[in-house]
């Protein structure tokens, strides 16, 4: 009996080692552990043995059966794993093939700049407001201290509409200042992005462009506050160490008025083609709200003061993304849009 068990074990060891597929593994199992399998037959023969022999061979045969069983199971699972591996490898993709895109659209760079600017100014407590693009002379000019027949109107080439009230297309977002201040009493701290229009078109001018206007009216608002706000914005929008420079200028609705330059973001102020070798880039106009404007919206300039600023969105986007032609924004070519 011992010998028989040993033979079975040896035969099994060699056949299981050679076994490479599931059919062979199954055949081995049937041959040994099937209904008429060699081990099964031996186990069946147990009943004829003496009690002593049963005590000896019982555990031996059971152990043999279990060992064979677990080895076959292991073999089967190994073969299954190999089969799976082989199949997966056969399904392998060429990862250099072009992907099948799930397309996500892009936001226009003008929108992205407006959103970014809004979020920066929100950090300083500004809220967003909007106003009409089709406007009356009062909101676009008169309330903003542009007298009739005054040379200051020359700075704005205006589109007029054929309407009873002689509407015009707003030439700046400053009209929203008036709408906001007519609706809300100070303190007012708003950021007003939007589309504006000038009847001027050449290489560097588009008849349609966008501005972001800012207004803060409260008690004791100072020019120093204005400067700090603009520096905060430019450093958040451009680079952390971007400096600003202020130059006297003229806008009818602010006094004092300044143009604000930022250190050239292309060359860092050393001088290059973009900044025309000056090291500075003009990005916005600003100033303290003119007392006449405050009076026009029934705010007492003795009690309140304020600052306002306006900047060109296309200009900011140009500096941020290196867009070198204003026409690109409005052509909306697919190859342009997909870059943002």
């Amino acid at each position: 009996m011992h010998k028989q068990v040993e033979t079975i074990q040896n035969d099994f060891a060699s056949s299981i080692q050679k076994c490479l597929d599931l059919e062979t593994a199954d055949k081995i199992r049937v041959d040994l552990l099937g209904k008429k399998g060699t081990v099964t037959e031996l186990l069946k023969g147990m009943k004829d043995l003496s009690i002593e022999d049963k005590k000896i061979y019982g555990p031996l045969l059971n152990q043999l059966r279990d060992s064979i069983n677990s080895q076959i199971e292991a073999k089967i699972s190994q073969i299954n794993k190999e089969i799976m591996n082989k199949q997966l490898l056969s399904e392998k993709s060429d990862f250099s093939l072009p992907s099948q895109k799930t397309k996500t659209g892009t936001l226009h760079p003008i929108t992205q700049v407006i959103y970014e600017a809004e979020s920066i100014f929100k950090e300083l407590g500004f809220v967003v407001a909007e106003g009409p693009e089709v406007e009356t002379d009062f909101y676009n000019f008169e309330a903003l201290n542009f007298p009739h027949d005054h040379p200051s109107r020359d700075m704005h080439d205006t589109f007029y509409l054929d309407t009873k009230e002689n509407h015009l297309l707003r030439t700046h977002t400053s009209n929203v200042q008036i709408h906001v201040m007519k609706k809300m009493a100070p303190p007012v701290k708003v950021i007003m992005p939007g589309k504006v229009f000038r009847s001027d078109s050449d290489v560097s001018h588009s008849p349609v462009f966008h501005q972001i206007e800012g207004l803060y009216v409260d008690k004791n608002v100072s020019f120093a506050n204005l400067k700090a706000t603009l520096q905060y914005f430019t450093q958040r929008f451009f680079l952390k160490d971007t400096n600003i420079r202020l130059r006297p200028s003229y806008f009818p609705f602010t006094e004092p008025s300044v143009e604000v330059d930022v250190q050239c973001v292309i060359c860092g102020g050393k001088g290059c083609g973009v900044c025309k070798q000056t090291g500075w880039l003009e990005v916005l106009g600003a100033g303290m709200v003119d007392p006449n404007v405050l009076k026009n919206v029934n705010i007492d300039p003795e009690e309140y003061s304020g600052f306002a600023f306006g900047m060109g969105v296309e200009r900011l986007a140009m500096l941020k993304y290196g867009i070198d032609n204003i026409k690109l924004y409005y052509d909306n070519h697919a190859y342009f849009l997909e870059q943002f």
């Binding site: 072009p98 099948q100 895109k101 799930t102 397309k103 996500t104 659209g105 892009t106 936001l107 226009h108 929108t111 300083l124 809220v127 407001a129 909007e130 693009e133 089709v134 009739h148 005054h150 040379p151 200051s152 020359d154 589109f159 007029y160 509409l161 054929d162 309407t163 509407h167 297309l169 906001v180 303190p187 007012v188 589309k195 229009f197 009847s199 078109s201 008849p207 349609v208 004791n220 100072s222 020019f223 120093a224 700090a228 520096q231 905060y232 202020l246 130059r247 006297p248 200028s249 006094e255 004092p256 143009e259 003061s305 924004y329 409005y330 909306n332 070519h333 697919a334 190859y335 997909e338």
Partner: protein, 788 residues
């Protein structure tokens, strides 16, 4: 305005480098567009003499010249015919970049070395034409840079002046400003002249329009001789691009440039009755202006006239009839102050803008009228001869009131956010010509047009103190009450987010469109521009479709076929004579959202997919109770495959397949789909209130129902009929399939729907489901249908 540094130096002893002067002006006063170095364009051009001329060995029309220019010798080949040995000429050497754009390089001409070029006046930019090389007959020292010889060795600042600084529109004005910045004295211009001959010419000035002419000065000067003005004056005028004409015209231009006051000189002989009348024109009167334009006048125009006819359009342009000619000997000189707004109106209406009108528009200095007038008399007497032949007529009602303002140092500092000592403020103001006594500021005459309020004073102090010297102080960050409309901006952000995630890219378009797009596109009465730049940008868009289809067309023509886009922008129209402006969102689809576009050119997109997008965006924005109706708004959509989503009277969205006529009109071959969303209507129904509803985890049971029904019965009617059974466990009705077979003829269609049952409390029993299903079947049987 051009500021020649040498001219400036006659008035201010400025020693700064020009670049530094420019920097300081930019910092404190005005923009500098350019620093012009006259020498630069004559760099490497020197005076030379021809010492020898040989024939060119290989070219009949060329000669080889030997040139000496001081210590250096050059060989230059030229084709000029007016050269001779001993001629002194301008020589452009290697590296010269001539005013006419020619770059000079050492080279070989037909095999002979040529190390430069002999220049004509044209090549040096001195005249528009030239016959041969410029011969310098006065024989300057050889080797002298030509800029020095031509006295073109000045530097100029191109100063850009804002409308509030009319006082800077002269050399004198800029000198004052620079003196204030650098704390230097200004030298006064000499206006003294001798007037000893007895006045024998009558002159009367009648001002009938004192509201439009604050001051009028006139004088007769007799015995002058018209001739070219002296070289120094011509040089100075040429430098600032004023073309010398004759001594009288040049003097008026010179004084205008020097002092900022426009002057006018006209013939005394032509002045009827020796009388000047300042008056409004009569309607129908005309004047032949000096620019040869016949100007029709109205009673809104101010004119200078004699007793009979207009002599000049006041402050704008003189008349031909009284113009000065070469044989004129007696003239009237005029200096005046005209109403800025009236000059501006007339100048605009007549389309005539002159140096004079531009200055009057900004307002001239009352005191400077007299100063400049005397300056011109002095120059005329000195340059043109003659004598003062009449009394000086000086007509004005009253001197302008002196503007006095209070200095409140604490207010200045509070507005600027500074701590400038009062003494510094007074110093700044004094340097600028203001008088400050006992905190009372008197504004100098030349600033009265623009400085008349405290804010203006604060600006003066701020800019001279230097805006860049003001320290940064961030205002406290306070949160104010948000405007009510705020959700509107968030909504537009969400809309943009939604469409980009669908695969649509945002475009931004002009609001102006052509009135000649396909007629179906204009769905409302558009607003029309009075002064469009072009006819195809002459009306405002009434929907976003027009912008999106035009953009699709543009991209399509540039070979981009698959492009889904959207725009968030305003639309405009006129309704009952009222202007309406609304923010809309439009989206255009040429293919299914989010599908790969790299391999197959066109993925199918359907009307129902678009409806899904419409439902999804509305749900995304928080709208639930939408109903769909027939599209009756946009004619440019396919009448069958289009719809609108509404709540009550408010249309929230219109969508559908683009009408085949439109795609054909634009030469687009594939189907397009479009949706326009009206956020201003949507915002009324948005509610951000969200409430949790209990949901059931018990298993659902599905039953299929399939039937043939008349095509005219809408799916909505079927759903309503199913719902009439009022089954408490019916959770959902899902359309599984529509089959348009011919089994029961052309007018029947087959629907397969799945009914989903669920009990929120327990697992449904088979029996209950059977009962509920029978109820529903019974209910739908009321419709004329055939099961199967």
């Amino acid at each position: 305005m051009l500021l020649p540094i040498n001219w400036l130096k006659e008035l201010v002893d400025i020693k700064e480098e020009v670049s530094h002067l420019a920097e300081r002006l930019i910092e404190h006063s005005c923009e500098i567009d350019e620093i012009i170095d006259q020498k630069k364009k004559f760099d490497k051009v020197v005076v030379g003499e021809i010492t020898k001329i040989d024939k060119h060995p290989d070219a009949d029309k060329l000669v080889v010249c030997q040139i000496t220019a001081g210590t250096n010798q050059y060989q230059i080949v030229t084709g000029a015919t007016n050269v001779f040995v001993g001629a002194v000429i301008p020589v452009a050497l290697d590296g010269a970049d001539l005013p006419n754009g020619v770059l000079i390089k050492n080279s070989k001409l037909r095999g002979v070395d040529s190390n430069g070029m002999l220049c004509s006046e044209m090549e040096l930019g001195l005249s528009d034409e030239a016959k041969g090389i410029m011969i310098l007959t006065d024989k300057p020292k050889l080797g002298t840079p030509i800029a020095e010889y031509l006295k073109m060795n000045d530097q100029l600042l191109d100063v850009s002046i804002t409308p509030n600084r009319g006082d800077l529109l002269s050399i004198r004005g800029l000198a004052r400003e620079i003196s204030a910045i650098f704390e230097l004295p200004v030298k006064e211009i000499d206006i003294s002249y001798t007037d000893k001959i007895k006045h024998d010419a009558p002159l009367e000035v009648i001002n009938e329009a004192t509201d439009l002419c604050a001051r009028y000065m006139g004088v007769v000067i007799k015995g002058i001789k018209i001739a070219p003005s002296p070289e120094w004056m011509q040089n100075k005028l040429s430098k600032v691009n004023i073309k010398p004409i004759n001594n009288i015209v040049d003097i008026t231009n010179y004084v205008l440039y020097e002092c900022g006051q426009p002057l006018h000189a006209f013939s005394y002989e032509k002045l009827a009755d020796s009388t000047i009348v300042v008056r409004r024109a009569k309607n129908g009167e005309t004047i032949q202006a000096l620019n040869d334009q016949k100007v029709e006048l109205t009673d809104k125009d101010l004119i200078i006239a004699d007793k009979k006819v207009p002599v000049a359009l006041a402050g704008i342009i003189g008349g031909m009839q009284s113009a000065i000619h070469d044989d004129t000997t007696d003239i009237v000189l005029e200096a005046a102050s005209f109403n800025p707004s009236n000059v501006r109106k007339s100048s605009f209406l007549k389309g005539i803008r002159t140096e004079a009108s531009q200055r009057f528009e900004k307002g001239v200095d009352f005191q400077n009228v007299e100063f400049s007038f005397k300056r011109a008399i002095k120059l005329i007497l000195e340059i043109c001869g003659g004598y003062v032949a009449s009394d000086i007529c000086d007509v004005f009602e009253k001197e302008p009131e002196v503007v006095e303002l209070k200095l409140r140092p604490e207010r200045v500092n509070s507005l600027l956010g500074t701590e400038i000592p009062k003494s510094d403020m007074i110093s700044i103001l004094t340097r600028l010509g203001f008088n400050v006594t006992n905190d009372l500021i008197t504004v100098p005459s030349w600033r009265q047009a623009e400085v008349n309020r405290e804010a203006d004073i604060i600006e003066e102090i701020g800019r001279i103190y230097g805006y860049n010297n003001i320290e940064l102080k961030l205002a406290p960050i306070t949160n104010f009450e948000q405007p009510k409309d705020l959700s509107f901006f968030d909504m537009n952000k969400k809309i943009r987010e939604f469409f980009t995630l669908q695969g649509n890219s945002e475009i931004v378009s002009y609001s102006m469109v052509s009135p000649d797009e396909h007629p179906a596109i204009m769905n409302k009465k558009p607003l029309v521009l009075k002064n469009p730049l072009t006819s195809y940008e002459s009306v405002l868009r009434t929907n976003l479709f027009v912008s999106l289809i035009k953009n699709y067309d543009y991209n399509n023509r540039h070979l981009v076929a698959d492009l889904n886009t959207f725009e968030v922008g305003k639309i405009y129209y006129s309704e009952n004579d009222k202007v309406v402006e609304e923010l809309h969102t439009g989206a255009l689809f040429s293919s299914s959202p989010n599908k790969a576009t790299t391999t197959k050119s066109q993925t199918n997109f359907s009307f129902l997919e678009l409806k899904g997008i419409c439902e999804e965006i509305l749900t995304y924005l928080g709208i639930k109770q939408t109903k769909f109706f027939q599209n009756d708004i946009f004619e440019f959509l396919h009448p069958g495959n289009s719809s609108k989503a509404s709540i009550g009277k408010d249309t929230l969205a219109v969508f559908g397949e683009v009408h085949p006529d439109i795609t054909k009109f634009y030469g687009i071959k594939n189907k397009l789909f479009f949706i326009e969303i009206m956020p201003e209507n949507i915002k009324k129904y948005i509610s951000d209130k969200k409430k949790y509803k209990k949901f059931s985890l018990y298993p659902t049971v599905r039953r299929d129902l399939s039937f043939w029904i008349d095509k005219n019965v809408s799916f909505e009617q079927i759903v309503q009929t199913i719902n009439k059974a009022k089954s408490p466990f019916l959770k959902d009705i899902v359309l599984v399939d529509i089959y348009d077979g011919k089994k029961y003829g052309d007018d029947k269609i087959n629907f397969a729907v799945q009914l989903i049952f669920q009990d929120p409390e327990k697992t449904l029993e088979e029996e209950t489901v059977n009962r509920e299903f029978s109820k529903i079947v019974e209910s739908v049987t009321k419709l004329d249908l055939i099961f199967g």
